[in-house]
Structures are given as structure tokens and as C-alpha cells.
Subunit: 176 residues, 4 copies
């Protein structure tokens, strides 16, 4: 079994990545990471309704999507930026609409049924103000046919806060 | 009085822009548009906690923010992509975190109290699946001190659908 | 075709009922009303897991449920009390859990596929603070297999406010 | 310091009460319980706008409200019934609108600033389908001026499930 962690954090020493790491420690299988800030992913240009469909885009999107398909399970780790997933993550997911129309990719069949997890982290009443993000991921998973297995909402503001979190015990058996 | 419409749509002939236009027809004052797809806006690199703060970024972000401050009211128009605002819009808003720390910008004081509006548009049970986006904007407005005046959820899938919408009458007196 | 309006309002001259009436004016078929405040409906005593199941309850619940089955479509009209449906409505719906276990009632089969509508009304930023109620109804309809057709959120505080609402035009073709 | 737990469960041997008990074990102070199913609380008759205001109601409501004021902190424990608080709890809270207009009660002043907690429990994807309830409580607390301190979402279906929950460790330091 393999788990892919896709991180939407925009900096090193990320609290959301720390939480994801803690959770992954309970994973029985291989764990792989992709940090979107190290990739080049362009905004979608919506050509769903163009006669010739989407123009090909030269960036790292296809490679990340392929990694997602190859993994048995996918964990999306994102800081809560402005009460939603980070722009890195959103830009990545928006482009799924393009991948779905690429017949070579076979997006729908390869993602359907895949277990999905969400870890997010914020500092401003995150337990409540993070809920729209969870609701959004629910819809995303539903639309793709992924299975929403579990989420974790962490509280942290400054670099290093996650390590001192009193919620770490919730992550000890995150996968189990 | 001036209204700035910031559009997060990723294509011309956009349904969300059509709805925004209809709404703006009832605006008593000047209406200005910014289409984010025509701007270059880079993802945020979170340096909030770096000793020297954020590195300056050369793109169009500051200019859009300045236009936002100069307007009396701001309407955010975004298609519902993956049950949230588009990556264009999210990337733009994420960078506010940087602007807020730029003492030359005076972000907080200039945005506080500004009336905000949201128009979104989607095709998959948008009245329900668009609600996390509305909840998210509520938090965004609250955090900045903007006043959440009103929102409109449109239903449309293909280019041209908005023109045939049976909700256009809801927009006739959107500003009034 | 018949529409049953179940009202959870706790007073005559109700704003939510006024909005429901306006909506019903566009219904092509018979319209029937049940006002829960005129019925006696007791709180559920959860005996789902008792050996002998639920004790029979003598009140008007069964009769309202039967009316719901006989109607082709059902509109739930409730004021927004404390950011949720009224206690009248909630008490009524809680008891569905009992009806579902009554083999004489055949609840699941008779409600599945039935179109459902929600009209609510409140005065404190109802467009936003009413959203948890809409999300809750979504889950309720989903669980029963009802189809969530449409909702309307009205704004009104004092008796008579609904009549002066600038949203009445949204109700003109509510059913159509 | 005293904590009042108000339970909206409709049966003995309640899972939500079990979770509340576990949480309360970490409370440094006295813990008091009120089980609404053992009280008589009538539905509200909305007379907010009647010339003479509300007619007095003879039931246990005033007594529970008084206990709420006397406690330093209040924990609302409710099963998730139909994706919301139970009818017992909702009926109780609806009547606050009456208490607020009773000048002898001094509701607003006595509840403002009081820390509030929510524990709920359900069996059908409760982590996601319980979110509207949390959002609703947020609005309730905001309106009264209570402080939303913390919530816990438990998973349990049958009597006894709570005892076997793998989330009990989250409750060990619920108050701390």
C-alpha cells in the first residue's frame, strides 16, 4: 500500500506538513510526498466548451496527477489560507477539469474509489472557520468518486507551533 | 460611487461575468472591471514569519489591490470551480496576506468597512454545493472588516447558459 | 399533482407562511397545509435499539406523516429560530425515526423520490446564517431519498415584513 | 468553577452522554447535569411582537435557564438527530427567545461571556454530516455573546458504542 501526500503549503517548515507527517507515521505502507510549491502548475484556462478542447499545457500538472493515480491513497495537506485551501492546492485541483477531458489520462476511472484524507491547519478559530474547507473537500471527493475517509484540523500559527500542539495524540492512529 | 468587479473567471464569454454585468446594470455609479486572467499574479510564498518579511514580488498584484482600495464597493465574481472560488481568485486573495504586512500599502485601514458582494455560478446543484464558498467569503469579509452585503448564486454550465437563466429577475435590483 | 406545505411556524400571521403561500401560488395542482402548531406531536423517545422497539405514541404524528406520503411534493416552511428549523419542525422530523421502524407505515418506500422544498425566513443576516439549515435539509433529503428541488430564504422580522419583501419576485415562478 | 451539562438525548444509556461524561472527567470543578428528557418543556409560541408580549408558561424551562446562568460554563450534549440537535434541545433553545424578553430574567447579561461547549454524536458520516450543527451552535453562541470554546464529534450508533470509541483519547484533556 502507498500513500501520496500532496502538500499545498507555501513554505518550508510547514505546520500542516508537520501534522501530515505525524499522521503518516501510523501508515502501514510507503509514503510519498509532493510539495506543490516545488512544482510549476499554471492556472486553468477553461476550454471545456471549445471546439478543439483544451490546449496542451507544459508544466508539472500531469506528473502530479499521475503520481496521484499510482498511489493507493491520497492525503491532501493544506494550510488554511483565507478560510480555504491554499492557492497552490486550488490551482492544482482546478486543472483536474482539464485532465478529465484528456482521453489519454483516464482520470475518472483511475481516481474513482481512491481513499482521500484531508489535513489542514490554521490559527483563527480553525475548528469552526475551517469547516467550509471540509465541506468543499466533501464535494470534491463525491464528484470524483473518491472516498472521504478522514480529516484532521490542526491549530498553529507560527512555524514550530504544530510540534507543541495538544492534538498530536489524535494523529497517532490516524491510519488504522 | 464606484464599484469594482474582480472576476476570477478563466475564459471569455463567462457566465459568472454575465451575471455580474446584469447585477451591475442596477448600480448607481461607475463600474470598473478587472479580469484576473488578464493579470499576472503569482502564488504567495508565506514569509510572514521570516525575519525580513516578504520579498517583493514583481507582478500585477499591487495594482489590483490598489484598484480595490480606490473603489467604494467590490464585487467578487467567480465561477464555482471544484466547489470553491477559482484558482485565479484564490491566488489573488492569498497574496493579501503579503499586502497586509507591507506598511506602504495600509491594507487593513483601506479595506475596512468596504461593502463586498459575491456572485458565483455553477452547474452541479450549485444552490447547495456553492454554500461552502459563501461561508468562506463570510469569513474573509469578517477578517478584513469588509461588510458582506449580498450574494447571488447563478446556475449555468455551458457558455451562453446565463443569458437564458430564469434567475435574471433576481439581479434586476441587485444594487438598490 | 398535490403539494403539501408543512409549516413549523409558531404563530399566526407568519412570515414564513406568507412566503410559502406566494410560492404556492405558482403551483399547478392542489395545495394543502398542515400547521404543526395546531397538532400535538411529542418528542421522540429513542427506542430504536430496544428489544421490543418503539412504544406506540398517541398523538398527531402518524396523521401528518400519512399526509406527507399522500402528497406528490412536500414543502417545509419554517422560520429560522436560533439558526435552525423551529422546535415544532424538529420535533416532528425526529419522530420519523420511529415511523421508519413501524412496518405498517412503509416510510422509506413511500417517501423515496418525493420532491422536497424548503422555505425559511429570518431577520439576522439570514442569507448567511440560514445556510446551516439548508445544509441540514440537504442531508435529511439525502437520507430519505427525497429530491431537494429548491429552497428560498426570506428576510423578515416583524409580522407583516414578508409582504413588503423585495424578494417576492423570486417566488413568482417558484414552481415551474 | 462549575460546569453544567445540558443533555438533549432522548434515552438512558446515551452515547452522547457517555462522551460528555468522559470530557467532564477532566473538568477541574463541580459538574452538574440536566437531562432535558426528564423535564417538561413546551414549544415556544412566538409572541415577541404581541402587544402584551409572552404569556407565562408553566413548565421547567425557567429552572433550566436559571441553572445555566448559575453555572460558570455550559456544555450542550446532544445526539445528532436528523443532522441537527435533538428536538428536546431545539425546543429548549427556542424558548430562550421568550426568556430574553422577560425582564425579570435578565437573560442577555447573565449569559454573555459564558464559555460554551458542544458534544454531539452520530453514526452516519458524523464528521461531515455533523458540521451544520456546529455551524449553527456557532451562530447561537455569537448571538448570545457566549464564547464557543470547543466541540467534540463522536461516532456511535448503538447503545454502548461510545465506550468502544477510538476517539476517547481526544476527551482526556477536553477541559484543560
Amino acid at each position: 500500500m502507498t500513500l501520496l501526500i500532496i502538500s499545498g503549503s507555501s513554505r518550508d517548515n510547514s505546520n500542516s506538513e508537520f501534522f501530515a507527517e505525524k499522521a503518516a507515521a501510523s501508515y502501514k505502507g510507503d509514503v510519498k510526498w509532493i510539495r506543490l510549491r516545488e512544482k510549476t502548475i499554471r492556472q486553468i484556462h477553461d476550454q471545456r466548451h471549445d471546439e478543439n478542447g483544451f490546449d496542451p499545457v507544459k508544466d508539472d500538472h500531469a506528473q502530479v496527477v499521475e503520481a496521484m493515480f499510482e498511489a493507493d491513497e491520497v492525503l491532501f495537506a493544506t494550510p488554511l489560507y483565507w478560510y480555504g485551501m491554499s492557492g497552490y492546492m486550488k490551482t492544482f485541483i482546478d486543472r483536474w477539469s482539464q485532465s478529465m477531458r484528456d482521453t489519454d489520462v483516464n482520470f475518472n476511472a483511475r481516481i474513482a474509489g481512491k481513499p482521500g484524507y484531508v489535513i489542514t491547519c490554521g490559527g483563527d478559530q480553525v475548528d469552526i472557520k475551517g469547516l467550509p474547507l471540509i465541506l468543499q473537500f466533501r464535494h470534491i471527493f463525491e464528484f470524483t468518486g473518491m472516498e472521504f475517509k478522514k480529516y484532521f484540523i490542526g491549530e498553529a500559527r507560527k512555524p514550530g507551533d504544530a510540534e507543541k500542539s495538544d492534538r498530536l495524540n489524535q494523529l497517532e492512529q490516524f491510519f488504522s
